[in-house]
Symmetry: D2
Subunit: 338 residues, 4 copies
């Protein structure tokens, strides 16, 4: 089968297509013919060698988000059958319940082989049946960015109508966050440097938009837009903790997402000093479980919401797809079709 592997030393040039044996499955696994994958910023950062996982073994198959067709099931598999359309969870061993280091020891396309291959094999507990209403391309969008936003807003925030959520930029997590916030009847404020993207965000339901090039102090602007109170929740993907602490409501939470960002600043440290008297919470989020992925599919399916695909590439255009991600000009998810 064809598959991409990221070779040592990690760089976009060492991101190479090759021919490999198809995976074999054990008794509890299913074999999946991959039909589509989606990209996350982490894939770009890994491809550039900006970070690595402890115990990383090169070369490995990159990318974490896939949807495909089940072509074979192990002898002990009972919930999935040949012909099922499935998506794969970012953490193949985090099936349910709260986070643990053990459950997250493998993350696809990082600390273990990922999904940028014609065939992949995973435990039945690691995959979720895709509702009929989603194409493979759409289904491939959910695992990393979607579950991250769901975990933050649905599980940790337990959002309710009347809450306000601040979203930063229009990447995968933020656009999922926008859609999820609106599904819960919450108010969504979103930032971008592009009025065109803000317009698209509005059409997805954003209640307020801030162009952070026109208004660099988006934190103060957020307070103004919320009668001086601040946002109940901030989905922090921009690495701007000091600003986020200024934008969040007293008693509110900031969800820290993405360790791959630039260095936290000394301002962050200083602004943390006031956190106690405003009873703020900083909750780091590291994607989530198979059960969260299943719940997210259900929430979107029942409400007829589709994930937002910014651009689609072919299997032989994966490097272009990565570079497009690197340019940061996307809105929503970037998808590769097989």
């Amino acid at each position: 089968m064809k598959a991409y592997k990221l070779h040592a030393p990690k760089s976009l040039d060492n991101f190479q297509l090759g021919d490999y044996d198809e995976p074999t499955i054990h008794d509890k696994q299913v074999k999946i013919q991959v039909k589509a994958v989606s990209l996350n910023y982490r894939d770009w950062a890994l491809a550039n060698g900006w970070f690595g996982y402890p115990g990383e073994k090169l070369p490995f198959i990159p990318f974490s988000d896939a949807a495909g067709l089940v072509t074979e099931v192990g002898a002990a598999v009972t919930k999935i059958k040949v012909g099922d359309r499935v998506a794969v969870n970012f953490f193949p061993e985090w099936h349910a319940g709260p986070f643990s280091l053990q459950k997250t020891r493998f993350s696809l396309g990082g600390s273990t082989d990922g999904v940028l291959a014609e065939y992949v094999a995973f435990d039945e507990e690691s995959v979720v049946k895709v509702p009929d209403s989603f194409s493979y391309e759409e289904a491939a969008c959910f695992p990393c960015a979607g579950v991250t936003a769901w975990h933050a807003l649905a599980i940790q925030a337990q959002l309710k109508p009347g809450d306000t959520v601040l979203l930063q930029g229009t990447g995968g997590v933020s656009i999922f966050g926008l859609q999820i916030a609106k599904l819960f009847g919450a108010q969504a404020i979103i930032t971008s440097s592009s009025n065109e993207k803000l317009g698209r965000a509005k059409s997805l339901g954003a209640d307020q938009t801030i162009n952070y090039q026109e208004i660099p102090d988006w934190a103060t602007k957020t307070r103004e837009l919320t009668q001086g109170e601040g946002a109940d929740y901030v989905v922090e993907v921009a690495g701007k903790l000091a600003d986020s602490l200024k934008a969040v409501k007293a008693g509110g939470s900031i969800f820290l997402i993405g360790a791959v960002g630039g260095p936290a600043s000394p301002d962050d440290a200083k602004s943390l000093q006031m956190a106690p008297i405003f009873m703020n919470r900083l909750q780091a989020i590291y994607v989530g479980s198979t059960e969260m992925l299943a719940d997210l599919f259900k929430a979107f399916d029942q409400n007829n919401i589709k994930p937002i695909i910014g651009k689609t590439f072919g299997f032989d255009e994966v490097k272009e797809a990565l570079q497009f991600m690197g340019n940061g000009s996307h809105f929503g998810k970037i998808v590769v079709q097989f």
Copy 2:
């Protein structure tokens, strides 16, 4: 009546005893003859002028923690009667439910008059009946330090047997934290620079102790004492966030207490970068509600636990009591008897 007031500019010298009119009560208030107060580090920091509350009006009556005898009740009071022994909540307007800025706009002895007076007046919703098993001196220990520890461990952590809690030093919050952790059947690790204090902590139930002068890297030591996992919860009163992040378990929480501490370091900012992949939570804690105070009294009363009083002073020795607090040589709470 006699009362202390802190005059401008704030300093220990401007902490003066004087004669004032007794407070009058409105229809929903009770008048309390104060019998004992306890000190918190905040009182020392305020007395030295190290910080102030927005809108602070000098002079004001300092101190937040009091217990006393009800001598008069307003016409609309229904739950408290003359002769009741009561303690006063740190936030007179945070009665129940979650934190809000509105509920915490007044904090005793800081942004409004406190309790270092022979008589004080508060809404009946702001006071709690003291169980018979506690003396006034004991009762006066609970409001700030006790409620802070309870809020962190009982409400936010929802502690359970088998969890591990790391406590820093042997001040009021940490010793309450130790007692509460043990009440929940949790494991408690506590640090101090004094082996004598660590011995006293052991006798209160501490499972493990770390002398941080002998073992400066108490964070790594905490990991060793927990089979490499780290503590589930860290009650952060020392302003050592970077170390606390090293000591806390993946998936665990750090409770940030006390905005009055020294500046957070750039290390803190840097160490926060890894928080996402360990799914840590930083939860700032700002004391709590009258309901929490009532639950804390009940928990200690039913389990026959007393708060730990390190030293008791007379009403005319308040400055000595403050200096004793400043020396940091206390274990548990410092109390002033009236």
Copy 3:
């Protein structure tokens, strides 16, 4: 001032209009000129003498739900001012936090005087400012039925998109339940004996409707409409526990509302026997706190949702309004304008 009182023995005939002194306020109270009230089934049941509260003292002013204009505030009031438009909470002493017997000892128009009077007086903690977007008539709809549905679905269920809620009939609680379920992105199934009402429910967002005259076994029908799984949550206002246990999903919850209904049947007892192996929860709901009322107002206001008023009567038509309630032909709330 004019006010209705319910005299002994309770009956619709002893529901009499009279002239009374205006209430005086204590230091923490506000005086409200009532502009509109709404009716609940409880008011009809009380007016007919079908039940009474322990310690009930006749005559009393009936009805619990009011909105009006603040005309005077006590000396110690700080959050409400003359000219504010406010609504009154069902339990004047349940301001925040979890249920307690103490907080619910008084329920308006039942165990203490209610709101069917030109002027009423309540603690500032017992009232909520009405958002500008609601008329007095609309605002008067929220306190009992709205808070009950919010308490069940937002607080106890912590609803999320993808959940399914079963609502019984088209009375006040059920229609609020329908609106709240849809605000959360949940699926709503609603029953009625009238296809016309079901049509109106559809236009409010109901995903599925069941005419229980055409399909008496609505519980089995609910299972069919949910792929055999049952509803995640049942808002039980019909006194049909055995059926509700048949309609609810394994692991799901039934919210028991309204002690005034007919006798529970032996079938209920029998069907409870299977609850353990389906891990069901039966959660009784008794209206809620001032904070819940405030959150509910905010949720509706920010999402531009209005409560549904089925019919409006004049102040001199209160008995007609009650009889209209008794006929059960209403959809949503019945309101009396002052």
Copy 4:
């Protein structure tokens, strides 16, 4: 290998020892040499044919609770190794997260083969490593009764010091409930018909005891022992819902355990009518997940608590063990040693 099977029609006589092939394991399974099993009331009820599971296939190997030695592991097993001492979870497919019908479709020794055999095979996700401090006999006590009590009190009640728990009788669930309540610093009230058993319960920490033969109205007695308030939580194993509703505090919860009990009475139905105004919760509990079992082991291990074994039998005395269970004269758990 030797194993007991329960043959059709279910009766104590058809509970027969036989010789069978040892189980073979699939890639994710471990093979366990059983060293000890414990009995639950359910085993007695099943052995007598008092109830059966849907889809039950006779004969089957009975009993659900086992501890033993791992003698073989499948090719894909990563967390368990040969030589590990393990206990098996009641539901082999409920590993983590909330209840679902899917996860509980198999319950050991009921709807699938159980553990009363010299060798058994289970997924590595279905077993938990036993802490060194427990013997096999002790470890075999935890799975059904222990996890049920833990699920009720630690997970659903989120017990805290100061809460009061009512326990009915001195069987496995109640004694685990007593030990767990005391671990949390809660007050425990326990009932029995035997003063000798009540004495043993006192020595395990029970704060109050009620001999229900001497005081048949134990519900009213519970109220008296709680200053008229009632118990915050009732662990309902006796099938006395009406009494339990009388014994529980307003706002409190009753955990319904054991569908195998006698018929619920019409009194139960009637008493449910008042539940709304007391905001009670009835929460059915159906054992729990592998993660709960692991947490329970940890809680007992770290606090040096052992499960209470009432009596131990040999492998050839299983019928005597069952009859002893049926007599109801045990205190704590009945264990069979292999």
